[in-house]
Symmetry: C2
Subunit: 186 residues, 2 copies
């Protein structure tokens, strides 16, 4: 099942800001709707972005237990803010062997252990896009309550300061506020 | 870029046999052509099978060097025999953490080190299909000279006897002979 991030003039999430952090930007987005689809949409337009919620590539058994103990699900009623961060990593990253990528990901960058304190407040889901021939390698979707926005900014700053992030060649940050309709809960 | 395994009445590779080893079979195939495409084909028919030649998920740095030292490329003129092995692994496999899958893959099953002696003769390419919503998780394509067919059978028997293979829930084996046209070299 593919997850489609669709952009239109109206949608479940109203766009508040789009920031281009590295590399080329992204076609404008007024509002976003996230939808599941059994097929890849036809190509040729910048939206939708498409990803797959696949199995974790680096998380080890003990880390998975630690994550499961603290992380929150998507769709909490109070989580009315969301951020979509599409990133692309360099050819150098993808040319590394599994143990080299893992060493950068956790022992050096503490991607998992450094994120743990934030996860009760900041819900998050990773979507893999690279094997789909998408413009980005990963799409990460975050949801949190408005009071936790500064906590989210801290999490982002911490990730962006890691060794892992030196391999990020393209990064865009789109912030949203949930539109108050019953529809978004369906 | 997607790799499409297309079945038709004629093609670059003539089907010699189809064996169903585990799980449901596969729609008949008389001849096969392998093609690159920038888009996923529309769904709804059993062929083509589609995969992506993605980065390696388990191979470590030293293993990669050992593989590079012995493995042969696809397309050798003498390699007129080919085998396509689509497999699917169980939900239990996909629910394992990375370190658990790696422990089964190499330390317990010697998937890499056990294959090394065969690789000068047996060229091989793995394609990932699971994230594409395909019926199989992996497609592996092997090419070898007719004189190396028994060596190939040994490699297969060795893989199928591993702990890793206890997680394989569906497996089909399609054997081919190359059709002698200039076309296949294009």
């Amino acid at each position: 099942m593919f997850t489609l991030f669709e952009s239109a003039s109206t949608g479940h999430w109203q766009a508040d800001s789009i920031a281009v952090l590295r590399g080329p930007g992204i076609a404008s987005c007024e509002a976003l709707t996230i939808r599941q689809a059994p097929d890849m949409p036809p190509r040729g337009s910048p939206w939708p972005l498409v990803g797959v919620a696949s199995h974790a590539r680096y998380v080890e058994r003990d880390e998975r237990a630690a994550l499961a103990a603290v992380q929150s699900p998507l769709g909490r009623p109070e989580a009315t803010r969301a951020v979509l961060i599409p990133i692309q990593k360099s050819p150098e990253w993808w040319a590394l062997a599994q143990d080299e990528r893992r060493a950068i990901f956790e022992p050096r960058s503490r991607h998992i252990s450094g994120s743990l304190p934030f996860l009760p407040a900041i819900a998050r889901q990773l979507y893999h896009s690279r094997d789909l021939g998408e413009p980005f390698d990963f799409l990460t979707w975050f949801e949190f309550a408005p009071r936790d926005e500064s906590l989210f900014d801290q999490l982002l700053a911490s990730l962006r300061g890691t060794d892992e992030w030196t391999y990020v060649t393209r990064e865009v940050e789109l912030r949203f506020t949930r539109v108050n309709t019953k529809e978004h809960l369906s």
